[in-house]
Amino acid sequence: MNSLFTPLSWDDTGYILTGVWNTITISVVAIVAGTLLGMIVGFARAESNKTVNFLFGSVLDILRSVPLIIQLILFSTFVGAIGHPMNPFVAGSIVLSLYTMAFMSEVFRGGFESVSKSMQTAARSLGMTYWQTIYHIRFPIGLRAVLPSWMGVALSVIKDSALVSVIGYMELLRTSEQLISRTQQPLEILIGVGLFYFIISYPLSHYGRYLERKMAI
């Protein structure tokens, strides 16, 4: 009897690899954009007074506290409702990047604030300008200090990217869900997918530890 379901086969490899590729793509976009934005916002917060910080902080708190899955659905529904529907990749990249930015900004803020005032004064006393001090002293020292936390956020972004599947982006988790519904082999597929996330994440965390040792000061 012909079954409605067909088992997993080698022909599915390309399909799975598309999912892997898409997961990597959206993760890289979110990590890069989130890091750059987070660096700017984190620096602005480290340099701002209490009032500005409170306003900034409230927005970031919202981004950090509302579950990502809700932000994704709300955003893609919202842009659709106002007549500018976005493809899932664009919508997902925007939401995931902002979400990442919210966490990264706190990481970087801590790093920039860890460089003591007296260290900066010493640099200024040598005749360095404000921006020279930031570029040559504050950024390099601050960034080294936050490397481990940065890595933690970056790794969680890769895993969080699975949630973008809810708005229809064909990343790894969504391709696997579709394969599961076709093959009815959830165990094999989910183990495989879990393994893929591990293979993507592990080298990164390993490289992070290596960098951390290398740049230790």
């Binding site: 640099a123 040598l126 005749g127």
Partner: protein
Amino acid sequence: MISVQNVHKSFGDLEVLKGVSLDVPNGEVLSVIGGSGSGKSTLLYCINAIETINSGKILVDDVDVHSKDTNKDKLRQKLGMVFQHFNAFPHMTVLENAALAPRIVKKMSKEEAIEIAKKELEHVGLGDKFDVYPTRMSGGQQQRLAIARALAMKPDFMLLDEVTSALDPELVGEVLDTLRLLADEGMTMICVTHEMGFARDVSDRVAYFHQGVIAEIGEAKQVITEPQNPLTQKFLSKVR
């Protein structure tokens, strides 16, 4: 010459400098002594334009330090400053620490900057530490690095803010020796210090600060060994 003219400085309601006037001619070593909170460190910060002043005037080689038209970054190149905390840049080697400012502030070529940095590091006795990271060095070595880093900018004046206060006692000597060397070479220096022996032996004049004013200023030996003002006498009897 550094000329401080009737300078007042407040932090909020607290007036730290209450009309300080002082001239330091080229080649002179002036030690500034006094209790904590007497305003002596604040004066150095005001001379280097790290702190603003409320009234009065500070001239460095006839340039008005606190004038709006003065380029403070440019001015600071003339004024080498060393602090109580060494503030070595931890992400750079000793040589990079000393070569950074000549390269990026004075826009020297890398080779030139490194040459000057090497010379000044040898000057303070760190000729064998070029490639070491400062966190691997003792406090005394880090403080000598800070001195070399300031000297690499070829300053006309050195402002030293309690540079031995954060050091273990056995490391104080090597830093004072370095300062003595600079004094012998004719560097103009203002040293805020708690080292009375150093103030007496190395400086030309000593100023005693008390609650934001100069209570006594005069020839070094005289102020330290035969202070005229009862306040100076009381202070010195406590720190000896």
